[in-house]
Amino acid sequence: MKEQRVGIIGVGAVPARGVSPDVSYREMIFEAAQKAYEEAGIEPQDVDTFVCLSEDFNEGVSIFDEYVPDQLGAVLKPVHTICGDGLYGIASVFMQLRTGVFQIGVVEAHSKLSNIVIRGEVEEMALEPLCSRWTGFHPYFVAGLEMRRFLFETGFKEEDCAEVVKRMKMNAMFNPLAAHPAKISVDDVLDSKPIATPLKEFDIAPQADGAVVIVLAREDVIRSLKKDAVWIEGISFFTGEPHLDSRDFGKATYAELSAKKALEIAGIKNIRKNVQLIELCDVFSYKALQHIEATGLCKKGESGILLKEGFFDFDGEIPVNLSGGHLGIGSMPEATVLYQVLEVVKQLRGEAGKRQVKNATIGLVQSWRGIPTSSGATLILGV
């Protein structure tokens, strides 16, 4: 019994959108949960443990985990919140199922960012109070400094980052769940408003509202339910350098550490040979390139070149962010990465329609918690 595998048996999401004034967060989550349970062929009573992802100030509610059980059918059940992105939630349920005590677990993430009147004020509160908040700037300045350093170390130009934006928004055109699909040019990105140079408005993923629910189960249960699962082959999460004063600004330490560990757990030695599609965090354009390199897909300074050559396109060697990523789906602090997990699940099941990648058996999903953190995770899924 000891090394039971864990698999995903149901996913449900509401289409992401810029604003969602017709539904409360509860109603949005209820809809996503109904879809996920239906796909998994279960009722909420069958679920042994629930993990919800949120941060209080994003909700405008302290102790937000109070408000999660009802719309998940989780009243009087084991439920807890993880303050991390969606992959942390999957890691949490994965570990719980592997203790032997639980059989079926659920992860929930959502976003109602449109309900925050001045998001910059909330974001600024994530900065260390005494040495980093003196500026009164939107914390995007941290991304501006990181981007400049990354371009300096890799030799990339702003155009290379703009290429990312163009491609991700184009990918989103084929994802019905994406909130921000568009056909735009590199020049559109380069001409957008400067925010914290070299970071410009279009380099930043626009925010969205949405909700995702994912059902996971242990191998023995999956067998008895006679379900096809997408298996968790490897998962890892790491915090890099938590504070700005000791951080390596050109590097995504968390991504390097978590990708290495997750690949090791999955027994994958050569990512380019063994992984057929990748979803990663592109909440800023340069982050996509930085994360491509951090996962070990290519050497430092190569990602931009390969991207331009179409290596990461739908018909390229290893497609990256066919979902549209954060730039195309929209940025939802905890939830976007679960929309990306949903994409990989659909791809591996062969249900991705027009954007179906052929012969995909292994996919990798990578996440980042956003400014000013240095935390992120890597998940490897397989069939």
Partner: protein, 388 residues
């Protein structure tokens, strides 16, 4: 269902609990971690993962404060995760650490709990306003004490409990805390003192309420083969349970905490406990308010519903009684840095079972203890059974 792997607590540490600490939250976390590590027999390099528990960001005034606290807690370049169930977080932290290790993903886990409430102005209680429903409750001009007062009233009404019976809890816990080196509000008070203290939100009086505090705690968890190698007295996590009730709290009868009972049943089943009142030798139920200790004893099935006040009056819950309850001094005596206060209860059971608490030691070589915390809108129960 039995877990596939055994997990032990092998080290513990606490800071002082204080109204206003000089130290930052990161520094407090470090103090607790250092103490926990040095008592564990492990070195920092042996720590494979870190768990952080800390209650609302609105206290420290840092958004995503788990990320901010990571370095002081030992999270630098490590798998590090923060879990959160409001006031239940402190006891949930060890459950989180337990599943990290019991999953086989990690052999060791450092569990840290921190709270720096004093940053919050004009008063830390203000942060609690935002726990109510933003549309249907907050506009009424809510304050935190309301929910406790409403629950206490209901509990007293249903079981016909007197104020005197509840005051006894404050008297006992504040006195027990005199022997606790972390204690913030330990004192010798009488039932009369408690009943003469000012009414805050009737039936809640000032001496029935735990203070706001700064503080941190930490414990070290290890899988069986490591625990047996490095620790002379590992304390085993025998059972864990947690449960969250509906957020529609005005649709429930508050006189009884179903969520605590459910969480307790889950933990007892895992621990193989059939008669909790006989098989458990020490209890550390959550006592942010005096009546809460009684309410939670009942939820933990340590006595019948409505019977906890009688046991308290008989002295059963004294340190030298048949069932010592909150021998640490609890939140009422030691203080209430939310998440750290919950972990303090785990530390107490750990030290009691190892016989390391000096004057606080309960007699009779206890073998098994239960710790419990509670949180949210009177909604979440987190329960852990430890044993040797």
């Amino acid at each position: 269902m039995k877990p596939w792997r055994k997990v032990a607590v092998i080290g513990a540490g606490l800071t002082k609990f204080m109204r206003r600490a000089l130290e930052t939250g990161r520094e407090l976390s470090f103090y607790a971690v250092k103490e926990a590590l040095s008592s564990s027999g492990l070195k920092f390099k042996d720590i494979q993962s870190v768990v952080m528990a800390t209650a609302p960001d609105a206290f420290d005034g840092v958004h995503m404060k788990g990320e901010y606290l990571a370095d002081g807690a030992g999270g630098f370049k490590k798998p590090y995760m923060r879990s959160y169930v409001g006031g239940g977080s402190g006891v949930f932290a060890i459950i989180h650490g337990w599943y990290m290790v019991a999953s086989g993903m990690f052999d060791t886990c450092l569990v840290v709990a921190e709270e720096k409430m004093s940053s919050c102005q004009p008063h830390p209680q203000g942060a609690f306003n935002s726990i109510y429903d933003h549309t249907l409750e907050r506009p009424l001009g809510v304050n935190l004490l309301w929910i406790f007062a409403l629950e206490m009233q209901r509990y007293m009404h249903v079981h016909k409990i007197s104020e005197e019976e509840i005051a006894l809890v404050s008297v006992k816990n504040k006195k027990n805390a005199l022997d606790h080196p972390s204690a913030q509000v330990a004192e010798e008070v009488t039932v009369k003192d408690v009943l003469n203290s000012e009414i805050m939100a009737w039936p809640v009086r000032r001496l029935m309420v735990s203070p706001t505090s700064d503080g941190a705690g930490a414990i070290v968890l290890a899988t069986e083969h490591i625990a047996r190698r490095v620790s002379e007295k590992p304390v085993w996590i025998e059972g864990v349970g947690w449960c969250l009730d509906t957020s529609f709290w005005t649709n429930r009868d508050l006189y009884y905490p179903d969520y605590v009972e459910k969480a307790a049943r889950m933990a007892y089943e895992m621990a193989g406990i059939k008669e909790p009142s006989k098989e458990i030798h020490i209890a550390e139920p959550y006592d942010p308010f005096a009546y809460k200790e009684l309410h939670h004893m009942e939820g933990l099935l340590l006595c019948k519903r409505g019977e906890a006040p009688k046991l308290t009056a008989k002295g059963v819950t004294q340190r030298n009684g048949d069932l010592p309850v909150c021998p640490s001094g609890g939140l009422l005596g030691v203080g209430n840095p939310i998440a750290a206060a919950g972990l303090m209860k785990i530390c107490e059971i750990f030290w009691q079972l190892r016989g390391e608490v000096g004057k606080r030691q309960v007699p009779g070589n206890p073998k098994r203890g239960v710790a419990q915390a509670w949180g949210d809108l009177m909604q979440v129960g987190t329960v852990v059974v430890l044993g040797i």
